[in-house]
Symmetry: C2
Subunit: 286 residues, 2 copies
């Protein structure tokens, strides 16, 4: 019922929704009618299902969230079943995912051949979301967080610096680049620098108009040599070698990277082992 309703609301008409759901318009119409009867009030303004009532909007919001969660759980259960040795679900920020998980996951799976691993890389917020919703067992995030039901430990600290092409002026100049030089050299903002608290830095880059949220395209821009950006060091180490990282004079602040472990996971043994592997990793040496 909820799925039918959400599909119709998304499609804006009944016949298209019916096609998407793989049944006839009349079946969809009847299901919808049952739902409206159950809830006593109408969910759509008109018979042409293109505008929701206020109740419809509220139910839509709730139902859509629920369906996403439900589909995720089903997928997780099925992944479990296809993983006779067990399953561990990791969520991480991309830089760390690319840098240590190839090693860490290799280590874990060599100890437990047949163990399934699900690795997802997104931003810190999504990682926390996945952990809180029970959609991941272990996670790596920027910053330090105190969260309900989640164990936290710091992994390493990361210097911020300017990233530029090897032949860029800032890559060669001898005294460390200053904040103003960086800001004046075609600076591209990105979402990782928002956590730099330094007022002088934020003020200097306030004028730059270009913002990119995706690291890959951000670095592609920088590789052209016409742009520069500021990122934590480990983000570039994870990328190809054709970029230069240079500390910026006056920017002392570091990015903290933390490991999070959800308590009450369905797979405590492997999560604990991965936790230990990650803590044992030589973070400083990179």
């Amino acid at each position: 019922m909820l799925r039918t309703f959400v599909t119709v609301a998304q499609s804006g008409n009944l016949s298209e929704a019916a096609a998407r759901l793989g049944r006839t318009p009349s079946a969809v119409s009847m299901t919808l009618k049952q739902l409206e009867e159950h809830l006593v009030w109408r969910l759509f303004e008109s018979d042409r299902k293109n505008r929701l009532t206020r109740l419809g909007e509220q139910v839509f919001e709730l139902a859509q969230t629920e369906l996403r969660q439900f589909d995720y759980t089903l997928a997780a259960i099925e992944t479990c079943a296809r993983s006779p040795e067990g399953l561990i679900r990791v969520a991480s920020i991309p830089s760390v995912a690319a840098r240590v998980f190839p090693f860490a996951i290799g280590e874990l799976t060599s100890r437990h051949p047949g163990l399934s691993v699900e690795l997802r890389d997104t931003d810190t917020e999504q990682v926390i979301d996945a952990l809180m919703r029970g959609q991941a067992d272990i996670g790596v995030v920027s910053g330090q967080h105190t969260l309900n039901g989640i164990r936290q430990v710091g992994l390493f600290r990361d210097r911020y610096g300017v990233i530029c092409a090897p032949d860029h002026r800032l890559a060669r100049q001898e005294p460390e680049p200053t904040i103003d030089q960086v800001a004046g050299a075609g600076f591209i903002r990105n979402n990782l620098i928002n956590s730099i608290g330094d007022g002088a830095f934020q003020q200097a880059i306030a004028g730059s108009k270009v913002v990119l949220h995706n690291t890959t395209s951000l670095l592609a821009m920088v590789r052209t040599g016409k742009w520069v950006t500021v990122l934590p060091q480990s983000v570039v180490q994870a990328e190809r070698e054709d970029l230069v990282f240079r500390p910026v004079a006056g920017v002392q602040e570091r990015r903290h990277v933390s490991l999070l472990l959800r308590e009450g996971t369905a797979f405590p043994k492997f999560a604990g082992e991965l936790w230990d592997i990650l803590l044992g990793f030589d973070w400083a040496g990179t």
Copy 2:
């Protein structure tokens, strides 16, 4: 299917589960068989459904969480439907719930007669949980939190002090009670004082063996006059007047109380209004 499986796993046998589900054992048996066939592997160790396989345990964990969430969403949808004017769901720590929500909710419902309000009071962790899961629109918590998709603003700060019966020695003595006097007077620990960072304080109370997590029973103990505890001031103001609050010498730290608003709520208008009412409240004057 999932509900059937979870019920059987909880019951430990099939017939009892069948009774709870309101169907015959054979129906339950068949449903379970379908689920196991779908997942290819068995979920129970034996035919007497009293021990789960490893897969069974993992699926149980996932399914149980899902079912709770699902039932909650259904209830929320039905509450919506029974609330033609709209619905707002509030989660708050008890002290604030008792202190301002009678006023705030009165204000909101007088502006919108017919608006439904759902108020739940629990601890900070559960409040955050409810917000993150989309089970509450607005929340009040201890401490300051940066959370994905949630707007946060500080409401007020709260002094910690010793709570005792009016005729208790610590209630009358003239110089402010010291940490050691408090610790030596039948001190009861509670979960709100864990956020006091002060090392000297934590060390002084480390010896006390009694811990209570429920504020009501905690204060009942204190009313006997044989025990004392330390709490933020507003926690006691919300209670009856037969208790005395006294600052403790050397304890400067304050509890921060914050207001949280989930973005993307199904009921943005009323949540925003309640947000404004709460921010407009004279927090200092209490």
